[in-house]
């Protein structure tokens, strides 16, 4: 009789864990998957290309319903788990479905942050998280003109770009003065802003949203300085928060996220957690690379395939906006002990920065020319001493004699 494995969350982290598990121990578990969304498993980070019209929904599906059948996995779509009974090791869905588990994986992901302001419930106020959001945006674009995206981070800019391509007049509202401040410094942000403006995107930098105004549907965005802009659609992209409601209610130890150890175990027996819902050593996650790492480690645990532990490592980011090349990794700001190498060709919108500490790369921002991003990223990962080719490194791998690195 096989052990029962239940996965809550039919998203990228959870399903990647299942994929990894099937590689290691295909026959070990009876697997049941609960997904709140009415789809199979799809690549969430490809939603931007879908919005931008570069891809269709079908193209971003990772596993369709058929796949689950082929692998004898029970899939419950459109069902949200409302309770975990840790005593008798079962989960209960909103439709009453109850399932026993020997092992449970929490992969509930994260929720978009919704600003606690008046008018946040108005029609035409959405976030950018799932296929549903994308569909709303595409539909709205057919009938309305003015879109306001609140938040100039990665997601916000991808949404803004998509809406622009869908034909809307888009303004990005950003509270700070550096766009994508998780990934860019001021110089890179300025270069990107300039390029996006030439593409037709508008920016309201250092604007703090006070409220959303409208009868049923949103009509205006009002800012703290009293100024207003018209809006037919407002997309809130001010960040995500780990979705821990279920875990908390079930008494699983949480802080900002579901607490996990080096093997992705929660502090409650037989329960694992992966993905954006977890908190690992004070760190939460928003990018795909570490999620896949977690999936590997978690799967290995479930397969009892041994002891590799999760180690959080620096992550690199690219922006999925056509014509915008940027690459960012590690600590690209630095501190008093760090040193900066900077190359700029502003009229070509090229900016490259490496941050070094003790002759090792600790971070980089590349804008315009990202061709050496992965090389820098591997030098960063390998902690390579770059003093031997410090004066050439910024000009690319082809400038440096191979046996030096």
């Amino acid at each position: 009789m096989k052990e029962k494995l239940v996965l809550i969350g039919n998203g990228m982290a959870g399903m990647r864990t299942v994929d990894e598990l099937l590689k290691l121990a295909p026959e070990k578990y009876d697997i049941t998957v609960f997904g709140a969304e009415p789809h199979g498993n799809y690549n969430r980070i490809m939603l931007s290309p879908v919005l931008a019209g570069d891809k269709t929904i079908d193209e971003i599906i990772i596993h369709d319903v058929q796949w689950y059948q082929d692998h004898n996995i029970t899939l419950h779509t459109g069902k949200t788990i409302t309770e975990i009974n840790r005593e008798n090791q079962s989960v209960i869905a909103d439709d009453g479905t109850t399932t026993q588990y020997d092992r449970l994986i929490l992969a509930t992901g994260s929720n978009p942050v919704i600003l606690p302001i008046d008018g946040k419930e108005l029609d035409g106020v959405i976030s950018f998280r799932d296929i549903n959001d994308v569909n709303i945006m595409i539909e709205t674009a057919k009938t309305h003109k003015k879109a306001i995206v609140i938040g100039g981070g990665l997601l916000g800019l991808e949404a803004a770009n998509g809406l622009m391509i869908q034909g809307m007049d888009v303004s990005v509202v950003h509270r700070g003065h550096i766009l994508m401040n998780q990934q860019l410094d001021q110089t890179a942000s300025d270069l990107m802003l300039e390029e996006l403006e030439t593409k037709g995107m508008h920016f309201l930098m250092d604007y703090d949203t006070a409220e959303l105004v409208g009868e049923d549907r949103v009509e205006k965005v009002r800012f703290k300085d009293g100024t207003e802009v018209e809006a037919d659609l407002v997309v809130m992209a001010v960040g995500v928060r780990p979705n821990i409601q279920l875990a908390q209610e079930s008494g699983i130890a949480c802080e900002r996220g579901v607490l996990v150890d080096d093997t992705l175990k929660t502090y409650s027996p037989n329960i694992y957690a992966v993905g954006e819902c977890v908190q690992y050593r004070n760190e939460t996650f928003g990018l795909v690379a570490p999620l896949y790492e977690q999936a590997k480690v978690c799967a290995a645990q479930l397969a009892s395939a041994g002891g590799d532990k999760y180690i959080s490592s620096a992550t690199a980011t690219k922006l999925k906006v056509t014509g915008i090349n940027l690459f960012s990794a590690g600590d690209f700001i630095g501190d008093d002990e760090s040193e900066e190498l900077v190359y700029q060709d502003p009229s070509r919108h090229i900016y490259k920065k490496l941050v070094l500490k003790e002759n090792k790369i600790i971070g980089t921002v590349l804008y315009g020319d990202t061709s050496d991003g992965n090389w820098y990223f591997s030098l960063l990962g390998d902690k390579t001493d770059v003093s031997a080719f410090r004066e050439d490194i910024l000009f690319g791998q082809h400038q440096v004699d191979e046996d030096l690195y």
Partner: protein, 895 residues
């Protein structure tokens, strides 16, 4: 409009015809024939003249690049008085009045001319005639004083006349050539090529190079004697003694045609007892000395070829006589394939000697202190005011200017503020002098900077006249370019002043032919073979014949209308007794010995592709490519002792001055000696005038300075930063402690270093280059590394590289980008790396100036096995196939 096109210029020549003009190279004393062709578009091309007996078509790198140097940028084109442009009349009046005033108040010896081996014979003649014949002072001296006056004095002591006995063809017929104190390969390249060809054709030809440095000339040497600087006379005294002890003496010749052998031998024996002793004194190996002595004794057909290494010495005259002694003792003179052969540094040093353009000569090889000569010249010139006593030789002349004894000086076609020893003092003296007149073709030189009156002279290609090369061969320089601006012939300028001084009919010349005929007539006047210099055969030339004059070796007389390849064939000399004179030589050490404070000996000289103070050669990007910066050659052991690094900068100090130079560590240099080239000056380098360091010490007889022996010390130059700028447009010289500017192909290069820190490199760079254009910048603040590139209209406009030390990218690849009409994206991306990146060649430092072939290109050809010999390189890359002066360097690359 090109000021060359002056409607009113009757001398103007038609620019719209293709013409090929046969003329003579204006550089070294080899005196090569040059064919200058002018295309319809006005562009000029030059090639060697196959019919000219000096070079038979060969040209060196400098000669080949002559066309690059005839541009008008930087030329002095109008008369100027106190910085104001004036008419010729005003300027000439000012000169005449100025000189008259000084002469009236202080006498004729209070004025002086300082002239040049760059002048044509006609110019030289008129200047000498004015000063000695009519102003009545012998205060006319010349930069030839710095070059070969010791050789002159040596010849005069031995032969009673300043007679170079040999011809170049003697070198080709010889079986032993002793090259002493001459880097012939670089300084007389075409003579060197004739010698190396001769060696190829005749395996029996042995070549011995005597030089403290292992120069490129040693490439063809069977034996190199790196003797102790200044010990030449010891070596040749030893040789004389050895000749005597080994039955080498030609007693018949010595007894019948010479005097003073016994005395000479005695002093030789006193000073040099044995070969071992000679070897010790000269710091040579006994075997080498013996091999040299034996070769000399056993080889009848021996030419000793000597130059500045012998002449530029406080005992230069004795050194040349110690050489001549050995040729007299063996009777090796006046016959084919033998003789003591001094080659001169300048195109017309010989012409200057012929007209008597030195302070201790009169005219036409006649002597000031000879009453008979005095009478002849007085009558010929029809003057009662002929100078009777020698004037001030160069070094004394500038001392007299400093002391105020001389109050007015006229400098013609030379740059004493750069080339005189203790040059800083000379520059100060000129600045303080009451009246300084300078005739030159350049607006800006270190000397014109000191002038009150500037007179625009014609340059090579514009002026016409004659020059005499090292083998007494008179050749025409012909003009193929019209007169630019208001520039004029020097003989015309001097005559105009002479006439204003009241000597109308004596200076009423209508052409250079006019002047030449008078000069030729004087040489024959009451001569009858008693004076060596006689070109009376040319005194009756018509203007056409003068125009057509073919190269000819003097004497040229009715008896010898075709000239005279070899002197003393009759064993008759121009002394009282008609016999050649041995001179008893007691070797003297250089005046200033190294000391604890100044432990090293500074040697100076030329590089391959530059000429004198670079006013012309530095106009050629090609020529600047070979050696772009002032350098100091240091032996590895000295480099270690004094902690100077390869390619870093060093400061060299003497009691007299300071220079900065780039360090080249090489064992071709003797331990204890360093070498710095003579060329760089204030116009192109902030602190690299080597003559500011050179001691103002002279030979007591010739008055020639000891430019090859100054005690100095060397230390690393402690720069806080190094850098370079390449700019499409010429910049104002950046005001940094070390700065050298170099003209390149469509760009200017500035090599920089400083001892004061630059706070904001980016701001500093914009100060130098302005903030126009698209700026690319690279900054590594903590490593003190800054780089910038400027692009204008998709074309590279400038780059700036700054680093904490001298380790910067090579300039080669960056330089090439300036010749490209548009900068490629790839080049733009790699620009501030300073190199093209993977699998794109960097041709490396220039080796062949003629075809612009770089070191790496040649190395690659060798590495891939495509080239197995210098000849292969020539076939595949053309390198070394034109002037051949780079062949020694190519050979080195074969290792």
């Amino acid at each position: 409009m090109d000021p060359r096109f002056r409607e009113d210029d009757d001398k103007n020549i038609d620019m719209n015809k293709n013409i090929t003009t046969s003329t003579t190279c204006p550089y070294c004393g080899v005196g090569c024939g040059v064919l200058a062709s002018k295309e319809q578009d006005g562009s000029i091309s030059v090639q060697g003249n196959k019919d000219h007996p000096a070079n038979f078509g060969r040209l060196c790198s400098k000669g080949s690049a002559l066309a690059d140097t005839v541009g008008l940028e930087g030329r002095l084109l109008h008369p100027q008085v106190n910085g104001q442009q004036t008419s010729w009349d005003t300027a000439l009046d000012a000169v005449a009045d100025g000189f008259r005033k000084v002469i009236d108040e202080h006498g004729p010896d209070a004025v002086a001319f300082y002239v040049s081996g760059q002048l044509l014979t006609e110019d030289y003649y008129v200047a000498n005639k004015l000063m000695k014949g009519f102003i009545g002072s012998a205060n006319i001296d010349t930069n030839s004083r710095l070059c070969m006056s010791s050789a002159v004095a040596g010849y005069k002591r031995a032969f009673g006349s300043d007679s170079v006995p040999c011809s170049y063809e003697d070198l080709e017929q010889a079986e032993l050539i002793v090259i002493e104190g001459s880097n012939t390969a670089w300084c007389h390249p075409v003579v060197y090529q004739r010698i190396s060809k001769a060696k190829q054709d005749n395996p029996n030809l042995k070549i011995i190079v005597i030089d403290p440095r292992k120069t490129a000339t040693c490439d063809i040497a069977d034996l190199h004697l790196p003797l102790k600087p200044g010990s030449d006379a010891t070596l040749f005294n030893g040789l004389l003694r050895f000749i005597n002890n080994n039955d080498g003496i030609d007693w018949d010749f010595v007894n019948n045609h010479t005097e003073g052998f016994a005395e000479a031998l005695i002093s030789a024996q006193e000073s040099e007892i044995t070969i071992a002793h000679v070897a010790k004194m000269c710091e040579l190996s006994r075997q080498d000395v013996e091999q040299f002595f034996l070769l000399f004794v056993n080889t009848e057909k021996t030419v000793t070829l000597y130059s500045q290494g012998v002449n530029q010495s406080s005992s230069g005259t004795d050194k040349s006589n110690s050489i001549i002694n050995c040729h007299l003792a063996t009777g090796r003179i006046g016959k084919p394939a033998m003789g003591p052969f001094s080659i001169t540094g300048q195109p017309n040093a010989m012409g200057g000697r012929e007209v008597g353009g030195l302070a201790n000569q009169l005219a036409a090889h006649m002597d000031l202190n000879n009453p008979k000569h005095h009478d002849i010249v007085s009558r010929f010139w029809n003057t009662g005011n002929l100078a009777t006593t020698a004037g001030a030789k160069a070094v004394d002349m500038f001392n007299d200017i400093a002391s105020g004894k001389i109050k007015a000086i006229w400098v013609m076609a030379t740059n004493p503020a750069v080339t005189m020893p203790d040059a800083d003092k000379v520059r100060e003296a000129l600045k303080a002098c009451e009246l300084v007149v300078v005739s030159d073709c350049e607006q800006n030189t270190d000397t014109t900077a000191c002038a009150d009156i500037l007179l625009p002279a014609l340059a090579w290609g514009e002026k016409c006249g004659t020059v005499t090369n090292s083998e007494r061969r008179i050749s025409r320089q012909r003009n193929f370019l019209p007169h630019p601006g208001e520039a004029e012939e020097d003989w015309w300028i001097v005559s105009e002043v002479a006439q204003r001084l009241g000597f109308k009919e004596q200076f009423d010349y209508s052409s250079s032919a006019d002047v030449f005929r008078e000069h030729a007539a004087l040489s024959g006047f009451e001569n009858d073979g008693v004076r060596d210099f006689d070109i009376s055969g040319l005194a009756e030339l018509s203007d056409d014949e003068y125009e057509q004059l073919e190269p000819v070796q003097w004497p040229v007389t009715s008896a010898k209308p075709q000239g005279t390849p070899r002197l003393f064939t009759d064993n008759k000399f121009f002394t009282e007794s008609g016999k050649a004179q041995f001179i008893a030589i007691t070797p003297r050490a250089p005046v200033n010995a190294p000391s604890e404070e100044y432990p090293l000996i500074l040697n100076t000289g030329r590089v391959r592709d530059q000429w004198h103070t670079m006013t012309r050669t530095a106009r050629s990007a090609k020529l600047n490519g070979h050696i772009s910066e002032p350098f100091v050659e240091v032996h590895p052991i000295d480099a270690e002792t004094f902690a100077v690094e390869q390619d870093a900068l060093a400061q060299i100090d003497s009691e007299w001055g300071t220079v900065l130079a780039r360090v080249h560590i090489t064992d071709t240099q003797r331990e204890g000696s360093i070498f710095v080239p003579m060329h760089w000056n204030q116009q192109n380098a902030s602190l690299s005038r080597v003559d500011a360091v050179v001691n103002p010490v002279v030979d007591p007889i010739s008055g020639q300075p000891e430019s090859k022996h100054t005690p100095v010390k060397i230390k690393p130059y402690q720069a806080t930063w190094h850098g370079f700028i390449l700019s499409r447009t010429q910049l104002k010289m950046p005001d940094t402690h070390y700065c050298v500017s170099v003209k390149g192909e469509q760009f200017w290069r500035y090599e920089l270093a400083g001892d004061s820190t630059i706070e904001d490199y980016s701001a500093w760079a914009k100060q130098q280059l302005g903030d126009q254009g698209e700026w690319l910048e690279f900054a590594d603040q903590t490593a003190q590394r800054y780089r910038a590139g400027i692009i204008k209209n998709e074309q590279l406009d400038a780059v700036v590289f700054v680093a904490p030390n001298h380790e910067l990218p090579t300039r080669t690849w960056l330089s090439q980008l300036f010749t490209e009409p548009l900068i490629s994206d790839e080049a733009r991306a790699n620009l501030l790396a300073g190199k093209p990146g993977a699998d794109q060649p960097d041709v490396g430092p220039l080796v062949c100036a003629c075809f612009g072939v770089g070191e790496n290109t040649i190395k690659d050809a060798i590495a891939c096995g495509a080239a197995k010999s210098v000849e292969d390189i020539g076939q595949q890359l053309k390198a070394g196939t034109n002037c051949g002066s780079c062949i020694p360097e190519i050979k080195k690359l074969f290792g």
